[in-house]
Symmetry: C2
Subunit: 225 residues, 2 copies
């Protein structure tokens, strides 16, 4: 049910943002407006839950512009995910390649991931949703973005193991053990923010610092010798 008609086989002709010296209208940032409106909308309602029309209206532009600037709904969605993974991968790589002891890097990793979820409100929702669905909207190229993140994380683990302070642990399990509780907790708090649910203690927010401390504890006790 991802897309009603078979995907149009990708001729890939990216217009590229804002070439100087054109004859047409100013075009302030139609492409960017579409991108950000779609990112928020997808994170709130999921790929199937958002209509192309709604994205366009939210961006304040015409629906047809989505098909002009991107190749369609699915291509726009993938562009959003790729951008997220590119930025996330760069930040995690910066942590992994810094000159810190492995344990510090793990703490920095937790903080970087937390910052990522706070800087882009759509990041955790969109990512968790896509994972929960089994990533049916992503192609191999987009999935490759995950590898960048995971391999940076794995470098930290390997360094700690070489130094004898970390035990051997499956990198994927370790990664999911840190990020999973965080993503699910954010989803839980979001569920509690829905109207008529304020009275459910089960869905009440937990202070940010308490969450951060908990995640660091998980991280270190899972991978430390």
């Amino acid at each position: 049910m991802v897309s009603r008609r078979p995907p149009p086989a990708a001729p890939r002709r990216r217009p590229g943002p804002r070439r100087p010296g054109r004859r047409t209208a100013p075009a302030p940032d139609t492409r960017t407006a579409l991108f950000e409106a779609a990112a928020l909308a997808f994170s709130e309602a999921g790929f199937d839950g958002v209509s192309v029309d709604r994205i366009a209206r939210r961006a304040g532009v015409n629906k047809a512009m989505l098909y002009y600037h991107f190749r369609g709904k699915l291509a726009l969605y993938r562009a959003i995910v790729r951008e997220m993974l590119r930025d996330g991968g760069a930040r995690i790589a910066a942590v992994a390649d810094a000159a810190d002891p492995p344990e510090t890097k793990i703490r920095r990793f937790v903080e970087a991931f937390l910052a990522l979820t706070e800087g882009r409100p759509w990041f955790p929702r969109l990512m968790l949703r896509e994972m929960a669905e089994g990533a049916p909207h992503l192609d191999l190229e987009t999935l490759g973005g995950f590898r960048t993140v995971l391999s940076a994380f794995s470098r930290i683990l390997a360094e700690g193991q070489a130094a004898g302070v970390f035990r051997p642990v499956h990198p994927v399990l370790a990664y999911l053990s840190i990020t999973g509780p965080l993503l699910l907790n954010l989803a839980r708090e979001r569920a509690g923010a829905a109207p008529g649910r304020a009275a459910l203690p089960m869905l009440a927010p937990i202070p940010r610092d308490q969450v951060r401390a908990h995640l660091e504890r998980i991280a270190l006790c899972v991978i430390r010798t």
Copy 2:
């Protein structure tokens, strides 16, 4: 985008399964067939990704029967979630109320949760998806089913804390720290099972015993003093 028209305000008239001594046709198990077909379909494609028509066809019955036996698509979905939570809550409560030391109960909890995910293939997918979306399809009554599960888990924590073997920890964070990695790992393996992804080591399955051992380690190191 949950349902196109406003929900019909719930007169709640459950037909009840199979009353003996009727005059109409045998009706072997139309209701059950619909229930199971829908559970699998919802877990595969999500609430919005499955059409009523598809559920009916998969169950081998007519589409109109869904509206006869349940009140509509949303009511059927909620019935499935409620059944899951009822059964899950009962199993976790059985673990919590047994005569074991707290640490054993935690291990039993992990095993019970794992068994739950293995016994009902749709359980982890459906649950993770619904959580990832912020539970937009659930009413307060259905959400109450979560409380049963969580309170049983909290009883184990409280018992261990009273005995001095567990440290004080937020029950919700502890719960998510065990179940989150498991659910996300299942989703990851499912993503890897999609056609054309067998070559991605990042999505390769991890042996069940390794996962179980990892979850137990997380559980105990998060809550133990």
